[in-house]
C-alpha cells in the first residue's frame, strides 16, 4: 500500500508539472483560428500509441538480436516493424483529426503579400494551440520515429563488415590452380560434357569463398563469340564463369539448355533471384534482367594429365556491384 501511494504521488507530481508547463498562456492577440478546446483524452491516446510503437520497434531489435542469423523468424520481424509503423500512423491520424485545429482557406497561397503570409504563419502556429503537452508529445514522437529508424537499420548488420571491400578484390585463382568438384576431386576435361552444367571450386580453398565457385559448361567452340583477347580462354569449348551473379550476389543456379535449339530459347545462365540472364557464348553478356555487367570469366587450360586448371585470373571483379566495381581488378590472392 505504501508503494502504491508513492507511485500515485510521483505520477501526480510529474503530470501536474507537465500540465502547468503545457497549459500555455493564451495569446493576447486576436486569433484567426478559433481556439479549440484541449482534448486530453486524444492526447493520452496519441501518447499511448507512440509508446506502443516504441515497444514494437524495440521488440524488432530484440527479436533480431536473440535469434541466430540463419534462423530469423520473418513473420515476427515483419509483425514488429509493421506494428511500429501502423501505430505511428495511427498516432499521426489522431493528431490530425482530433488535436490540430483546422481552418480552411478559400484563397490560394499568397506568395507576394507579406501581411497575408504572416497570417498564414499565425494560422499554422495557432493550429497547435489545442495541444497542452507539446514537449511531451514531441518527445514521444521523436522516440517512436527514432526507434522505427533504428529498427529499420538493424538488419544492415547482416551485410557484414562495413566499408571493407578489399576481400572482394582477392581471388584464389592464378595460373595452374586446379578446378575441383564439390567433393574436392580434380575435374578431367573429358568428364565435362555439353548439355549440362557443373559447379567447380579452387583446389584447397574454402568453398564458401566468394571468388572460389565457378559454373563450368561445354559449348561448341566454333560458335563461341568471346570478347577480344579471350581466344584461348575456352579450351575445347569449356568455359568457366564466376557463379556469383553480378546483380545481387546470388548463385547462378539455373542453366537453360534447349533440347531443340532451332525452336527453343538459346542456352543461357540464369540467376534464380531476379532472372538476370547471361549468354555464355559471348562472355556471359547480360541478355535479360537487372544485372549491370557480364559474369567474370576465368581463363582455363587443360594440363598434361587432362585436368582443368586456371590459366590466369578473372576478367573482372567478382560479386555484386559496389562503387568502382568496373575498375580493372587489382588482385591479390588469398591463400
Amino acid at each position: 500500500m505504501k508503494i502504491w501511494k508513492w507511485i500515485v504521488t510521483l505520477l501526480t507530481l510529474l503530470f501536474g508539472r507537465l500540465m502547468r508547463r503545457g497549459g500555455s498562456v493564451e495569446d493576447a492577440e486576436e486569433r484567426i483560428v478559433p481556439a479549440g478546446t484541449p482534448e486530453r483524452r486524444a492526447e493520452n491516446l496519441v501518447l499511448v500509441l507512440l509508446m506502443l510503437a516504441v515497444l514494437a520497434g524495440i521488440a524488432f531489435i530484440v527479436v533480431y538480436a536473440i535469434y541466430p542469423h540463419a534462423d530469423q523468424p520473418n513473420e515476427l520481424l515483419g509483425l514488429c516493424l509493421g506494428l511500429c509503423l501502423a501505430l505511428i500512423g495511427g498516432a499521426l491520424t489522431v493528431v490530425a483529426k482530433r488535436l490540430v485545429v483546422t481552418e480552411e482557406l478559400e484563397d490560394d497561397y499568397p506568395d507576394v503579400h507579406p501581411q497575408a503570409q504572416r497570417e498564414i504563419a499565425e494560422i499554422v502556429h495557432e493550429s497547435g494551440s489545442r495541444i497542452t503537452r507539446k514537449k511531451l508529445l514531441i518527445g514521444a514522437g521523436a522516440a517512436a520515429g527514432g526507434t522505427l529508424g533504428l529498427a529499420a537499420l538493424t538488419p544492415a548488420l547482416s551485410l557484414g563488415p562495413l566499408w571493407d571491400t578489399a576481400p572482394l578484390d582477392m581471388t584464389p585463382w592464378r595460373p595452374g590452380v586446379a578446378l575441383v568438384d564439390e567433393n574436392g576431386n580434380k575435374m578431367p576435361a573429358s568428364d565435362v560434357v555439353g548439355g549440362t552444367f557443373y559447379s567447380a571450386f579452387a583446389e584447397g580453398v574454402d568453398p564458401e569463398d566468394i571468388a572460389s565457385e565457378l559454373v563450368v559448361i561445354r559449348l561448341d567452340p566454333d560458335k563461341l563469340k568471346l570478347p577480344n583477347g579471350r581466344a584461348d580462354w575456352a579450351p575445347d569449348g569449356i568455359l568457366a564463369y564466376s557463379k556469383i551473379c553480378t546483380h545481387a550476389g546470388c548463385a547462378i543456379g539455373l542453366y537453360r539448355n534447349p533440347l531443340f535449339p532451332d525452336l527453343e530459347p538459346k542456352p543461357a545462365l540464369v540467376c534464380p533471384c531476379h532472372y538476370s540472364t547471361f549468354d555464355p557464348y559471348t562472355g556471359a553478356s547480360v541478355i535479360y534482367g537487372p544485372a549491370g555487367r557480364p559474369l567474370p570469366q576465368l581463363p582455363l587450360m587443360i594440363d598434361g594429365a587432362g585436368y582443368l586448371r586456371a590459366n590466369g585470373n578473372f576478367s573482372a571483379r567478382v560479386g555484386p556491384a559496389w562503387w568502382n566495381v568496373r575498375e580493372k581488378p587489382t588482385y591479390g590472392t588469398n591463400e
Partner: protein
C-alpha cells in the same frame, strides 16, 4: 486426371484434324506396326516420316506447320518420357511442353516407343529403384542439381523463357527419364554427373515431397517464387496502400 480422360474421349469421338488419328482397327497388343502407323499419322509432321527430323517449318499432315528434332538414336528413353507425361504431341511447335494431357493409350504408347526405338540404337527406359536410395543424400543432391529451377519443395517456378514444371505426382521412371534427357530447356545429367545410385536417392526425395499446407504467411501465392509474389505486391498490396492513404488523408468537413 479426370480432365485428361475426358479430353481423350472427346478427341476419339470428334477426330478433329489437330487431334490424334488412329487406325480404324487397332490390334489387341502393342506392336511396332501399330507404332509406325500412329507415328506416320501423328508425329511425322514434325519429326519426319523416317524420324530424321524437320529443320525448317513445313506444312505436314492436316496442314500443321511442322518442325522438330530427329528421333534416330533417342532409343526408347525419350518417347516413353514424352508420351507418358503428355509432353507430346504438341498442338503448336511454339508451345512449351507441359504435363497436362496424355493423348495416347498405354498400348499405343508402347507401340510408339517400340517403333521409335527401332529407328536406331539408343538408350533404353531406365529402371530406377528409389527404395535403394537414401533420403538425406537425395535432398543434398536435389539441392545441388535441381532446386535452382524446381525449388526446394519441387513446386517448380520460372526460368527466363519457360515455366518450370512441378514435380509432385511423377513416377520414378518419369523422373529418371527427365534427368537423363533434359527435356525442353532443362539441362541433361549424364551418369558421369549423377550416378544411377544417386538418381535413386533423388527420386526418393522427390517422391517424399508433398504440397505444403503450412504456409506460415497464410497464402501460398503459387509457391513458385518472386513473379507471382511481385504481382501480388504491385497489383493488390500497392492499391490497398493507396486506398488506405487516401482514406487517412481525407478531411471530414463539419458544417
Amino acid at each position: 486426371m479426370l480432365f485428361g480422360g475426358l479430353s481423350i474421349v472427346a478427341i476419339a469421338q470428334a477426330q478433329p484434324s489437330s487431334g490424334i488419328v488412329r487406325p480404324t482397327t487397332e490390334p489387341a497388343t502393342p506392336s511396332v506396326q501399330l507404332g509406325s502407323q500412329l507415328f506416320a499419322a501423328n508425329c511425322s509432321s514434325c519429326h519426319g516420316i523416317d524420324g530424321k527430323g524437320i529443320s525448317a517449318p513445313r506444312a505436314g499432315a492436316g496442314d500443321i506447320m511442322g518442325m522438330g528434332p530427329p528421333l534416330r538414336g533417342v532409343g526408347a528413353l525419350a518417347p516413353d518420357f514424352y508420351l507418358r507425361t503428355g509432353f507430346m504431341p504438341l498442338s503448336s511447335i511454339h508451345d512449351e511442353p507441359g504435363n497436362d494431357r496424355v493423348l495416347f493409350s498405354d498400348k499405343e504408347i508402347k507401340s510408339l516407343v517400340a517403333f521409335v526405338a527401332s529407328l536406331g540404337p539408343g538408350p533404353g527406359i531406365p529402371q530406377p529403384d528409389p527404395k535403394a536410395g537414401s533420403l538425406s543424400e537425395g535432398m543434398q543432391l536435389f539441392t545441388l542439381h535441381c532446386a535452382g529451377c524446381h525449388q526446394e519443395d519441387g513446386e517448380g517456378g520460372f526460368v527466363t523463357g519457360a515455366r518450370v514444371p512441378p514435380l509432385q505426382g511423377l513416377t520414378a521412371t518419369e523422373i529418371a527419364e527427365a534427368v537423363r534427357i533434359g527435356p525442353y530447356l532443362m539441362p541433361k545429367f549424364p551418369a558421369s554427373q549423377i550416378s544411377n545410385a544417386q538418381l535413386n536417392s533423388i527420386i526418393k526425395f522427390v517422391q517424399s515431397l508433398k504440397n505444403h499446407d503450412d504456409n506460415r504467411g497464410g497464402w501460398r501465392i503459387g509457391n513458385i517464387g518472386p513473379i507471382p509474389e511481385g504481382l501480388v505486391t504491385w497489383w493488390i498490396a500497392v492499391p490497398l496502400l493507396i486506398i488506405a492513404c487516401l482514406a487517412v488523408g481525407r478531411r471530414f468537413r463539419r458544417q
